[in-house]
Amino acid sequence: MNTKAYPATWAQGDAVRAAASRWQRRGLLTPAQRATIEAAHPVTYYRPNNWIRVLLFVVTLLGAGTAMASATITTAFELGPVAYALLTLIGHLAALELLIKKSRYYRSGVDNALLYGALLAWAFLIACLGRDTDPSALTDPALWRWLVPVLLALLAALVRYADPLVAATSFAAAFALLFNVLLQSALGRLLLPFGMMAAAGALLLALRQLPARDDYFYYRSAGLVLRTLGLAVFYLAGNYLVVREGNAQLLGGGGPSTQIPLAPLFYVFTAGIPLVYIGLALRRHDRLLLTLGLLALAFSIFTLRNYRSLLPPEIAATVGGAVLLLGALAALRYLRTPRHGLTAAADAEARPYFNLESLVVAETAHAPAAPEPGFEFGGGHSGGGGADSSY
């Protein structure tokens, strides 16, 4: 049996058409050539526009719910929850496989809903079988009995259907399991951030093998989700604020958090990881890494200001804003002609976002208003801004 539910040519065809359209926008293909390529790689699956996909998703959920309810009523509730969950699981999977084969559905909303329904039925089934575990408590020592079968099913579904949401859920389940296992011992608690970082790092290394595989395009969207989450967790698990506040929570919460062991190491992680992300992104021309690096840098600055208030917020905003502005202006000037494989010019293939930009200006560009008489400054973290439109 083929391990992939959808023919790999569907994803491959998507990639070919996207590349052809990009090359045409860059002037590397004539429109006629693009049309020939598209004719040779036509869309052979069914996927409507996004509105319809959402609609189909909801309708399928409602339909599946109705079918389950009528099955329960016709059997007069006599079979017990395990049997009903099993029935639901089999029904969903059968319908899913059949619709992919016969109607050529590819993430059309219907197949998504059936897949998620089947996985939920499985999770419910396992929860029914192991009555002594409580899936809602992350610290429950018996959680693995529920989590391991669920994770295995998720991974199987990921390999077969390559669904982005299933990828995200598998990631969450795997890291919840790791978290849960490490929490059970004192040593594990101490190593918790390192365990998370090591797992995320291993995932990132493994994902680097994906582009070399023949089925890269089939797994591309799922791989992108996993990579985003892996990069985020790798940074957050080493972030000083997350580790310190998380540690305080684990020790019982309440009161201000206290200094953590190995603090200097986490300072280094907090400061260093965003810079490494940004540096690597610029070297490897990796936009995801760059975006996450910039976000991580912003969160690192927030972390620093949370514990060490170096400057009053309005001065920090003024100085920071000026530095940012001058830095970006300098970068614009420096990269006017492409250097080191970088450029400040827009990609010819990128669609402009100017409309969006003017709306952002309408939403955010207000000068801070004069304070009301009697208004005292002091305290508060916001740097002004966001004035009311009424004068």
């Binding site: 590397l28 409507p48 920071g320 940012l324 990269l335 801070p368």
Partner: protein, 337 residues
């Protein structure tokens, strides 16, 4: 192994869809194409400007009584003058079309100088009561100035600021998310809001039809329809509350008229936003108008309560079908123009 895009290229070459020389050109382009930091740098520029203006705006008022505040005012004036001078030096010659973008830096520095102008104006009013109690004038000065600059420098961001200042003059909030941040406009502002919105929509239509800065139309239309439709909704429900049914019917018809214009523009520019906006507001206005008419006709013939119930049973499933039909055909509706 080669990156995936090269494998695709090799496949296309093997299928005979691309001649080898052209495939080599594409391969070279994929390998040497520089990585664009355009949008990242723009975002950082905008973030820097927002932080700088926010910080300076607070600093000005904090140091009103100290010696430092002269320095701060000096810095603001200097920054405003120099960024405006830079923008003025790099401006493109005036055109009614879209001017070629000469410099990203000039675009953002113009925005910065406009924001600093607002800070400075607010300071002069707070410290020296420059406009006295003529608050309208305080809003009119930036409105006129920003409209002029938006057209002269061909800048959509400054246009948004001009419209925002104009709305502040009238006393309403035109920001796209105004409904979520400040709720429905107050009842007494619904008439000025409606007039302002209609005026902006008129300006948008005129720009589109006369081809005067047609790339400004989107901003006019979105901000204008936002404020006009919100104000009309307030008016509509207020009239219904007070039993002014016929006046409410007129407002509902006005909303339907605005929605017709939006649909026309949506089809002209293939914009989902305007189509959905028109569909949402149009549905509310149409339903309300139908209820008013039905109430007027049916009250005398059969009992009002019975009639409304049986009509609702019919009407809502039909609207659901209408929604499905709209979503199924949304592409066709937009692209048949």
């Amino acid at each position: 192994m080669a990156p995936p895009i090269f494998r695709l290229l090799a496949d296309l070459e093997a299928e005979g869809l691309l001649p080898p020389t052209q495939a080599d050109v594409i391969r070279a382009d994929e390998r040497t194409r520089p990585f664009s930091l355009h949008y990242e740098l723009r975002a950082l520029l905008y973030l820097g400007i927002t932080l700088l203006v926010g910080g300076l705006g607070v600093l000005v008022y904090q140091h009103l009584d100290s010696i430092g505040h002269g320095v701060i005012i000096g810095v603001i004036i200097l920054a405003m003058a120099s960024s405006f001078a830079y923008a003025a030096r790099h401006r493109a010659p005036f055109t009614w079309g879209e001017a070629p973008r000469t410099s990203i830096a000039a675009d953002y520095l113009l925005l910065l100088s406009c924001l600093l102008f607002l800070v400075l104006e607010g300071y002069l009013q707070a410290q020296y009561a420059l406009f006295g109690t003529r608050y309208g004038l305080a809003a009119a000065v930036p409105t006129v100035l920003f409209f002029y600059l938006a057209y002269r420098f061909d800048h959509r961001g400054v246009l948004s600021m001009a419209i925002t200042a104009l709305a502040a003059w009238v006393g309403v909030n035109v920001a796209p998310l105004a409904l979520f941040t400040s709720g429905f406009p107050a009842q007494e502002l619904s008439a000025p809001g409606l007039l302002l919105g209609l005026g902006l929509l008129g300006a948008g239509l005129a720009s589109e039809l006369l081809r005067r800065k047609p790339h400004f139309v989107y901003t006019y239309m979105l901000l204008g329809s936002n404020v006009a439709l919100l104000a009309a909704m307030v008016r509509l429900f207020d009239d219904l509350d007070h039993g002014n049914d016929w006046q409410a019917l007129l407002v509902a018809l006005l909303v339907l008229g605005i929605c017709t214009v939006l649909v026309w523009y949506a089809r002209r520019t293939q914009s989902y936003v305007f189509l959905l906006l028109a569909a949402g507001y149009g549905y509310v206005a149409f339903t309300t108008g139908l209820v008013i008419v039905a109430k007027a006709i049916l009250t005398d013939i059969v009992g009002w309560q019975d009639a409304i119930f049986s009509l609702a049973v019919l009407y809502f499933p039909m609207s659901l079908i209408g929604l499905v039909l709209l979503l199924v055909n949304i592409k066709k509706i937009l692209h048949r123009a």
